[in-house]
């Protein structure tokens, strides 16, 4: 598919790029005031600004491709794949509250508040290194998706879409930091949402409208595609109930923990930039509500695409479903408007990960380990240098992506499955200590290799579906970190009492509450 822009299309695009970079640059003076401004907008934002940023960040160039893939394959059942983000439903009222009260800049910093001593420092160092790598990887991945999309739409070489948009984004991220990110996200999120709604409904209309689509689905014998609960059995088939129950379990209970979803880390920055605990809760609740309802519009358009092109078997083809129906059906003169929306979703994701990756390098590595006495001015400068490092690293990752994606997706998976429960335990159980958490990371790495690759390759166990891998890794990893936790000393009670007074965690914290009461850090009944 090749798109040819007319004059009006270029006008839309030019206007949009000017609006967006200008909006980011406007906040230059605020961004350079301090480290807290450069990375958290001074912790003073009302909930609707980080809320739209949550939505904008989680709408990337490759997201409609991924949603197209699952909806084209599974019908409306595929919406449940996107329901993993429902961890925010619980996190908004549990872990976001605890994390916002900790005031930590990042998840890595939170580790040294929750755990003390050498273990806490080891975890902070590990988490900051992992966070930097992860953000660079996501930047490379998303940028490459943009490169491929530009190649698909305009025939440009992949590197053009990979490099040029990221450089434009870097202009306002380098100058205004998180102020630029979140303010640009605000208008990018609104523009992107309306364009997605408009293009999706237009696609539904072009495919015959709601009644026409239902009739065509019936004619094709595919009416099950409109049933979101069309399971293929409890364990068998392509959409088993066991998978669905596992997904609900992971998503909903994951909200009690921190880091139970890869999206937690970006959300953590939005939570911390909110002006109060209440704003933090609503920012992630409403940002995710927008994300899920956006998926509903996408799903309808992809079902519309299905009735137009029902027999595509090549995943690479049907993963472009939403882009195809949007660009093919949109009225003349609006292709530039649609492309501006795609640029918006791309820019918002890139800007977030540039700034978020720079938090770890600046706050957790430079400020904490290298130059603890650095002035605010120097820290802002370090933030800018870190942003530039992330940008260059993302180009290298992006260009390598074809070769490494399989390995890195595996890496992301193993970081998730066996770590899900430890990420919850560290929030809800006072006795869970840094050695237990560290051992969980190491055990998870080993068991993941065994369960996912090595044992199936040698025929020792069958290749398990992903939801069974999750249960297996959860149990096996627990066999290591629970004994390690119980056989090593608990965290220092004074350290934990200070953490308790600050964050008021949910769960099993009675001995620490008593210690905080004894020390006079809190009063009976809750207050201080």
């Amino acid at each position: 598919m090749m798109i040819r822009f007319n004059f009006l299309d270029w006008v839309w695009l030019g206007l949009y790029l000017t609006l967006m970079t200008g909006c980011g640059l406007l906040f230059y003076r605020l961004g350079k005031r301090s480290e807290a401004d450069f990375f958290l907008a001074g912790r003073g934002l009302p909930w609707w600004i980080p809320g739209i940023s949550v939505y904008a960040t989680h709408t990337a160039t490759d997201t409609p491709m991924w949603v197209s893939g699952v909806i084209y394959k599974y019908g409306l059942r595929g919406l449940w794949y996107s329901f993993f983000s429902a961890w925010c439903a619980v996190a908004a009222f549990v872990s976001a509250r605890i994390f916002r009260r900790s005031l930590a800049y990042s998840q890595a910093e939170w580790q040294s508040l929750r755990y003390g001593g050498l273990g806490g420092e080891l975890l902070r160092g590990w988490m900051s290194g992992w966070g930097t790598f992860l953000n660079m990887f996501i930047l490379g991945w998303v940028s490459m998706a943009m490169g491929k999309l530009c190649n698909y739409l305009f025939g440009w070489d992949n590197w053009v879409g990979l490099v040029i948009p990221s450089i434009i984004v870097a202009i306002y991220v380098l100058s205004a930091g998180y102020w630029g990110v979140v303010m640009a996200d605000f208008q990018q999120g609104i523009i992107a949402f309306f364009i997605i709604v408009f293009a999706s409904l237009w696609g539904v209309k072009a495919a015959g409208g709601p009644a026409g689509i239902i009739t065509k689905l019936n004619t094709l014998g595919e009416s099950w595609r409109l049933n979101p609960f069309h399971f293929s059995g409890f364990f068998g088939g392509d959409f088993p109930l066991a998978w669905f129950l596992t997904m609900i379990f992971i998503a909903v209970l994951g909200g009690f923990g921190m880091g139970t979803s890869i999206d937690w880390y970006a959300e953590a920055q939005r939570i911390q930039s909110s002006r109060t605990v209440r704003d933090a809760a609503y920012s992630i609740w409403w940002g995710t509500a927008l994300t899920l309802t956006r998926n509903s519009f996408w799903a309808a358009a992809i079902i519309a695409f299905f009735v137009l092109y029902p027999h595509i078997t090549d995943a690479q083809q049907y993963e472009m479903a939403w882009y195809r129906i949007a660009f093919e059906q949109i009225p003349a003169g609006l292709a530039g408007f649609l492309f501006a929306g795609i640029i918006a979703i791309h820019f918002s994701t890139i800007s977030t990960h540039l700034n978020l990756g720079a938090v770890y390098l600046t706050r957790d590595i430079y400020h904490h380990y290298i130059n603890p006495e650095a002035s605010e001015r120097r820290l802002v400068m370090a933030g800018r240098v870190a942003t530039a490092i992330l940008l260059l690293g993302s180009f290298i990752y992006g260009l390598m992506m074809e070769e490494i994606t399989r390995w890195l997706i595996f890496a992301l998976w193993i970081m998730g499955a066996g770590m899900w429960l430890p990420n919850i335990l560290q929030v809800i159980w006072w006795r869970f200590n840094s050695w237990g958490y560290l051992s969980a990371w190491i055990a998870n790495l080993g068991f993941s290799w065994l369960v996912v690759w090595i044992l199936p390759a040698f025929g020792v166990i069958p290749e398990l579906p992903d939801y069974l891998q999750f249960w297996a890794l959860m149990v096996l990893t627990a066999l290591v970190y629970i004994p390690v936790t119980l056989l090593t000393p608990p965290e220092n009670k004074f350290h934990l009492a200070k953490y308790y007074a600050m964050t008021r965690p949910i769960g099993w914290w009675k001995p620490i509450k008593q210690e905080a009461l004894r020390l006079g850090l809190i009063k009976e009944g809750g207050g201080r």
Binding site: V90, F93, A281, L292, T293, F297, G526
Partner: protein, 103 residues
């Protein structure tokens, strides 16, 4: 003093009482994912002008309103209380980052 209640759930909080985890939090924790699921599925079906979609979507909106009705007073109370202590906690954070936590 009598507290305001709705269906047995408390709707006014003193700043200190709001610090504890109570049944109002658990109601929010249960209703919140339900609201998400109803909104997502209801809207997708409603775009195809299906009546069941409209009903599910409306239930999602009602669940969302109920959720905020119950939890908002508590979140407001927590926020106002916590803001008073935030400066002190930020100072502690700066000591941690500068390796001076126990000085």
């Amino acid at each position: 003093m009598k507290t305001k209640r709705f269906l047995g759930l408390r709707r006014d909080w003193g700043p200190e009482e709001a610090e504890a985890w109570t049944k109002e939090d658990w109601v929010a924790i249960i209703v919140s994912p339900l609201a998400y699921a109803l909104l997502m599925i209801g809207l997708a079906l409603f775009i195809f002008l299906r009546l069941d979609g409209l009903i599910i979507f409306l239930l999602g909106i009602i669940a969302t309103i109920f959720l905020h009705f119950i939890i908002d007073p508590k979140l407001k109370a927590i926020s106002s209380e916590y803001e008073k202590k935030q400066r002190e906690y930020l100072n502690r954070l700066e000591l941690v980052v500068r390796w001076r936590e126990d000085e």
